[in-house]
Amino acid sequence: MAREKGSVRKNFLKGILTENPLFVSILGTCPALATTKTLEAALGMGLLFTIVLICSNVLVSLLRKIIPEEIRTPAYIVIIATFVTMVKMFTNAFLPELYSTLGVFISLIVVNCIVLGRAEAYASKNGPFDSLIDALGMGVGYTLAIMLMAFFRELLGTGGFTFGKVFTFIPETPLIIPGIESYTISLFQTPVGAFIVFAIILAIIAFIKNRKAELKANLAKQEKAKKLAEAQAMAAKQAEGGNK
């Protein structure tokens, strides 16, 4: 089956931009608020989430013609829970620091609306390759979104970033941003700070969207006025020709 040119790219990018699960669909907010205290924890959460999303999307897509309609949701939950359990065990074994940092939020990926939502809305209706690209786009989009939140929370809350605390295979490197360290606001390290950062980012996105819509409307108006003027000029010309 021939794929439309650029459709893969479009499918991938929609998860990052136009259909970003966190900033556009407002899904998966619970872990986004809880695991964005540090950039490293957010990256870890994003990676685990992406792995679960890819695996479950591909498997759901492969089994979409086998799973009877009546047991679709329980079957999807069993599939997702299996991958979450596997990811949890691997993290506990090979990245124990990440495991203890994320704690209960690894298990909570099972009930993340994005994972079940993509299985139900996309993977159950599309082929494995498209589902893989969709999951990859959504996963990367979610990871980037929570990393953006973590960037501001860690920077404003601690005055810099610390690497190597969660991913212990890299040496611990504190990165202090000069000028900010004396003006840190510890509120940003608390759940309240997470809400504030999330709200500000959503407000900025809404502002940009509205501005874009306004510009588009203005452009359309101008275009319409231009066309009207052209039509009037043409009509006047025709009337002039008729008189002669």
Binding site: L63, I71, A75, T85, N92, S100, V104
Partner: protein
């Protein structure tokens, strides 16, 4: 009986999915079990080192008859060049906010020294650490009991659980020294 066939097919499909899921988890467990067990041993050793500093485990074993204490570790350690003896206890417990597993260290007089969190699966995990565990560990020896009782920290239920675990370990330490 078209319905019966449908029901059987539905049950068989769900059963197959569950069986494959169980198989996958079993294989993952086979791969990770040893590493997880080793990580737990490392965490205990790290916890004992963080409480007692330069130390050596002389004896260890299971503890029964306590609500939270599961293991004991008899530790020899150095304090200002003096050879000291102490006990560390591994405690495990949970509440509605999740599991906690820790190592609590006690000196020869069963005075609480400090604790090391092995596993903290509380919903308010970081609040528990920042507002209760760190101040408790940093408190001077004379103010440890006061810090232990000060559980109003934003993760109060977690702090109460930790306090109960430490008190249980303290009782175990007194029992061990009285033997």
């Amino acid at each position: 009986m078209p319905n019966a066939k449908k029901y059987i097919l539905t049950g068989v499909t769900l059963g197959c999915i569950a069986a494959v899921a169980a198989g996958l988890i079993a294989v993952t467990n086979l791969i990770t079990a040893k590493k997880i067990a080793q990580n737990e041993i490392d965490a205990v050793n790290k916890g004992i080192a963080s409480i007692f500093g330069d130390s050596e485990i002389k004896n260890e074993g299971k503890v029964s008859g306590h609500d939270y204490v599961t293991y004991y570790y008899q530790v020899d350690y150095k304090n200002s060049e003096l050879e000291m003896h102490g006990y560390a206890f591994k405690c495990e417990g949970s509440n509605m906010y999740g599991k906690v597993s820790l190592i609590a260290g006690f000196d020869q007089k069963s005075n609480f020294m400090s604790l090391y969190l092995i596993k903290n699966e509380q919903t308010y995990a970081s609040t528990l650490v920042d507002k209760y565990v760190v101040p408790l560990n940093d408190a001077e020896s004379s103010k440890k009991d006061e810090a232990l009782d000060d559980v109003s920290c934003g993760a109060t239920y977690g702090a109460k659980l930790v306090r109960e675990m430490i008190n249980d370990a303290k009782a175990a330490s007194s029992e061990f020294w009285s033997k």
